[in-house]
Amino acid sequence: MSIEVNAIYRNGVLELQSTVPLREGQSVRVIIRAEPDASQDERVAVMHTALDAWLDQQSKAVFLDPPDYPPDEWARLNLELEALIVHLRQQSSQYTEAEIAADVETALGAMRKEAR
């Protein structure tokens, strides 16, 4: 059984524009089809063309496997990471997540400004 209804997306919630014959708590699958937007569709089409051309120039012999080390090498890496994290937490544990996120955003803003 399926039904098609219009909805408006507001604050992370899809608000249905009409009632639907569902019982309380019933699970449904939602397929989202945006209203046509000519300018946006055109931009997406341009991106597809640009990406396809870009992918065509990439090497075909690409190896995407993750690193695979012997167990003692993983253990060494893990010890090094733990030591770094212990060092970082001596400073960062006094700050909240929000403060740290704001600090990184400031650094990101500066980096972006430099790139312009």
Binding site: L51, L77, S92, E97, A107, A110
Partner: protein, 147 residues
Amino acid sequence: MIQVAVDPALLVRGLLSPMSGNDFIIQALRERRFILFTSKALLGDVARLLEYPGLQRKYNLTDAVRGGLVAQLRARASVVAPAGKLDFCPNPHDNHLLEVAFYSHAEYVVTENDALHDGTALAWFFIERSTRAIRLAEFARILRGEP
């Protein structure tokens, strides 16, 4: 294993965060619960963020610590080398992330950059290319195996 490209800013947040928070990315990487795709350019962005004087001072990011963090990411990631540049975002740093994502056909791009979310042309483009741009909270849910 899921294949992911992560915004350098979120990797830095993860590295700097106390145990309970955003460092789940680093812990999941340590436990090899996802494949991180990155590139020389993206690792360079991580290094540049860590070099920012305000972060260096506040978090005591010495040369050795910064070098060690970038080396850890490089050692644990699949480092790809895309040829040429994409020009989808106004800022080249944002394009570095897209280059890695599309080159490696990553399932997810984890970013809080609004340009890749919120109904933008780029957000729809991602969906059509079978790569999903997700925010940090959604990535956490995926790693926990939640729907």
